[in-house]
Symmetry: C2
Amino acid sequence: MKARKFWLFVALIAATFAIGAQAADPLPSWKDGQTKQSILAFVEKVTEAGSPDFVSPAERIATFDNDGTLWAEQPMYFQLFFALDRVKALAPQHPEWKDKEPFASLLKGDLKAALAGGEKAILEIVMATHAGMTTAEFEQIVMEWVATARHPKTKRLYTKMVYQPMLELLAFLRANDFKTFIVSGGGIEFMRPWTEAVYGIPPEQVVGSSIETKFEVRGDGPVLVRLPKMNFIDDKEGKPIGINSHIGRRPIAAFGNSDGDLQMLQWTAAGPGKRLCLIVHHTDGEREWAYDRESHIGRLDKAIDEAKAKDWTVVDMKRDWKVIFPSSKK
Amino acid sequence: MKARKFWLFVALIAATFAIGAQAADPLPSWKDGQTKQSILAFVEKVTEAGSPDFVSPAERIATFDNDGTLWAEQPMYFQLFFALDRVKALAPQHPEWKDKEPFASLLKGDLKAALAGGEKAILEIVMATHAGMTTAEFEQIVMEWVATARHPKTKRLYTKMVYQPMLELLAFLRANDFKTFIVSGGGIEFMRPWTEAVYGIPPEQVVGSSIETKFEVRGDGPVLVRLPKMNFIDDKEGKPIGINSHIGRRPIAAFGNSDGDLQMLQWTAAGPGKRLCLIVHHTDGEREWAYDRESHIGRLDKAIDEAKAKDWTVVDMKRDWKVIFPSSKK
């Protein structure tokens, strides 16, 4: 009888925990409604043993865009703020920049004139600030910037401009044995130094754009030197290519916010079985920014039409999210 | 007292399992000796809590070459056997090959004449057999070949030409929270369809050479088409570049067998803290093949000199391995 009582006690405790676990809301910053429900229903269907939609843990691949999906992207991509800060920091070593566009305008504080040169100007700024050092040196530079630079409008650290509801979603998926990946147009080595601490996503699960590197054996050992030459652009058609190259499996869930994510969503949707394709629609001009079809950054036009046609999940930030950013700003 | 007896009983059971676990040899196909000892000592040092050499699980990255390190590579790379089989299978669709080298010689069974064209000839054979289909179609072709093709000398399936001691080493490292990666000169999409079943290494942990792919939306949905153009060669200097691109962390352990692995070993060795750099030396002409400095395939010359100079671990296959291949040939 003692043993029986013991096992009854164990069963009671286990049941209490089981009920407790079920009752706790895994997505507390998401308002109840259709959007949240579609996420919960998808995860339940693909993880429930015996469900016709069951997916083995190894195949539970979820890919997330970064800019505009996991963290904000206004008034311009944060990596561009990084590049501009680097131009200022490096200016003393480049006296020639005083007379050379786009650097001259940049250093005078005239961002608009600097970026008037379009993609070519941006590429010049990126190469001047992202190449010419070793990978270890670049990592250090990024870490220092991320620890100190602040967003011009909110004055938050950029890593506190991440979306609290998406942090919860990442954790919820991982708690259900999903492997979460970033698949971003941003620089792969710009993201990797901080994604593990901020999103719980380790470097080997970050896919992004890259420049070429060169292996060199120097006096104090081998290094990888970052070269001023594009290697891969992980945007639009590049996203399924990057997914195939780095992951080698098709995601069963994908999360984006712009036309740059459309091909990743199409690629995800085209696999067999249950899929979750989700678009974050920036509708909250008060708490964040409101933009879509006409925006230069994060334009959402074709992808929102396709989302409607194909019944993908669309997050209305204003309606669906109780909070946008984490409460701590530091 | 009942409760106390219960806990004593639990403690006894736990202790029995603990002793049992310690006593079981994790590397039963490795002969006792310096090589095995250096592996065991390394794993103990980096995993023991409180050890000055302790490495957190997230940083326990181990990279393995494939050809000649995890499976055999003689009398030629197995992927080349695959390519030759594909030339034969595709010949009816390519009547022009009858008069066109290197295909003409190949189809006549004259391998030597076919490969006389060197790298250019091999590249032509690879492109004719590895490109022009979707990634899904190529995966299917590889799976069928791997399930049926047999090695000309041993008559084993190629996936049974893997090294039993290395399978044990992979499992031992994973049991100690290492993440095991392949970093091979072989084709990334040639390996991924079978590495999970054979090595326990999932597609997202396979790094290899690649050709370019193109995203296309067809009538029945989006596909990735394999193009006849090299994208990345994951050999020699390419290995640390591939590691940085795919993993984004420096390995603490690396395993190779040829000069093609030297830069990966150098890159691994150059990190701070305890490292394990290991070279498989093919010394067993009876049970496998014996080759090193003069071999065209898997040449081991500079790397063995550097291994000696830097006190890396060198496996003498004849001396260190009780068995070479798994007992099952099917």
